[in-house]
């Protein structure tokens, strides 16, 4: 490949017109050849004027809280329980719930199975946050029942370090975390710290590692090991 073509690869990389495979290949080439990185920076600089054409849009209000939550555990990796590598959340559908339950059958053996429909009234809005660990295995399932104003947490193979306890926190948009309760049993029910439905949509649940008995300061003191956004279930 001639130098001229290579340089156009750099340009197309910055422009974004390389396909997925070509992009990945170019990024590998960039690691080997610093010259390509220089070309990329040159094109980024040349084309930066186009950034002004794009209007700014205010991001969702909970984005910052989620970013902070993802940044913090990385800041204290030595305190993280082994095996927890990834934080994410997803919206549940009934079908997915069943699939997940079946897939987890062997893992969940011996744990009390939490049947959502038993206490959820069909007409009441319910919310669900699934907090994941690496490998996309749901480790904690947080369910909020607006009808009875309770939050239920089912713990599936959650790993707790010795002499520590996991504590669940509720964070409404932009507010300080409020303790929901300790996750020291396979299944926990607790009163909801929020009373209004509109406060719940988009709220975040986070789990921190605390000394036995829970945080004594009223705020998380240990590393946040899980977090998940709350989604309306129906």
């Amino acid at each position: 490949m001639s130098d001229a073509d290579r340089s156009l690869d750099s340009a197309e990389y910055v422009l974004g017109t390389l396909g997925a495979t070509e992009r990945a290949e170019f990024e590998r080439a960039m690691e080997r050849e610093p010259r390509l990185g220089d070309e990329v920076r040159q094109w980024e600089d040349w084309l930066a004027g186009l950034n002004d054409v794009i209007p700014a849009v205010t991001p969702p209000s909970q984005s910052w809280a989620n970013i902070v939550r993802r940044v913090r555990p990385a800041a204290a990796p030595s305190d993280r329980p082994a095996g927890i590598t990834e934080l994410s959340s997803y919206r549940r559908s009934r079908a997915r719930w069943r699939v997940a339950s079946l897939a987890l059958g062997s893992l969940a053996a011996g744990l009390a199975l939490f049947i959502a429909s038993e206490h959820l009234r069909p007409q009441a809005p319910s919310y669900l946050a699934v907090v994941n660990r690496g490998g996309d295995l749901p480790a904690l399932i947080v369910e909020v029942d607006m009808a009875s104003n309770t939050v239920s947490i089912r713990s599936v193979a959650a790993e707790t370090p010795a002499d520590k306890v996991l504590q669940l926190w509720y964070i409404a948009g932009g507010q300080a975390p409020r303790s929901v309760g300790l996750l020291d049993r396979p299944e926990t029910r607790a009163a909801l710290p929020a009373s209004r439905t509109d406060q719940l949509a988009g709220a975040t649940f986070a789990v921190s590692v605390e000394p036995v008995g829970g945080s004594t300061t009223g705020a998380p003191t240990g590393p946040v090991v899980y977090s998940g956004k709350l989604f309306r279930d129906r």
Partner: protein, 185 residues
């Protein structure tokens, strides 16, 4: 950016560079300041490419995570801080849409979003505007749609009712001409 704000922009740039330096030392307050000053721009850039607020939010979060993790690698010769951050967000957004198209084996058909009238808006931007203005109309539009809206070659081909190899040729001609023009300044 109008010419009257250039001085402020220069001040912003050195401020942002200083904040990035503090972030590389793990300063969360500095990180928050960066977020407050740049997130609307980055979200606008990402949203235009991935279309859909939920996915754009995920990409935005990933972008700031990368900014946090790579702050120590930022150096003045990495370019202006805003350019550096927008590049991180744009690449994250483009990676997502290219992988989605690649995995699905097709490119989703999105209603073409009208590009912000390229000529009118770009003409004011010094050399880039002048050099873009020398391109043939479809080549100019290719560059703008690819950069601002994240169009792939396949999407550009559909937009212009042209074949993908034709688009590739247009892009190469446009980029070669742009480079020659920008290098001459």
């Amino acid at each position: 950016m109008s010419t009257t704000s250039l001085e402020n922009a220069a001040g912003d740039a050195s401020d942002l560079a200083a904040l990035i330096l503090r972030v590389s030392a793990g300063d969360e307050a500095a990180f928050q300041q960066i977020y407050e000053r740049t997130s609307a721009k980055l979200f606008g850039v990402v949203l235009r490419i991935v279309k859909g607020r939920e996915l754009a939010d995920e990409v935005l979060q990933d972008s700031y995570l990368r900014i946090w993790q790579n702050a120590s690698r930022y150096a003045p010769d990495s370019g202006r801080p805003m350019t550096w951050m927008i590049a991180i967000a744009r690449y994250a957004a483009i990676d997502v849409v290219r992988k989605r198209a690649h995995d699905a084996g097709y490119t989703p058909v999105d209603p073409p979003e009208p590009a912000a009238d390229p000529e009118r808006q770009i003409v004011v931007q010094d050399m880039l505007g002048r050099c873009l203005g020398r391109l043939a109309a479809p080549q100019l539009e290719c560059v703008v749609l690819a950069y601002c809206n994240g169009y792939s070659r396949e999407e550009l081909a559909r937009h212009f009712s042209a074949q993908v190899p034709t688009i590739k040729t247009w892009l190469h001609r446009a980029l070669s001409a742009l480079r020659a023009c920008l290098e001459a300044t």
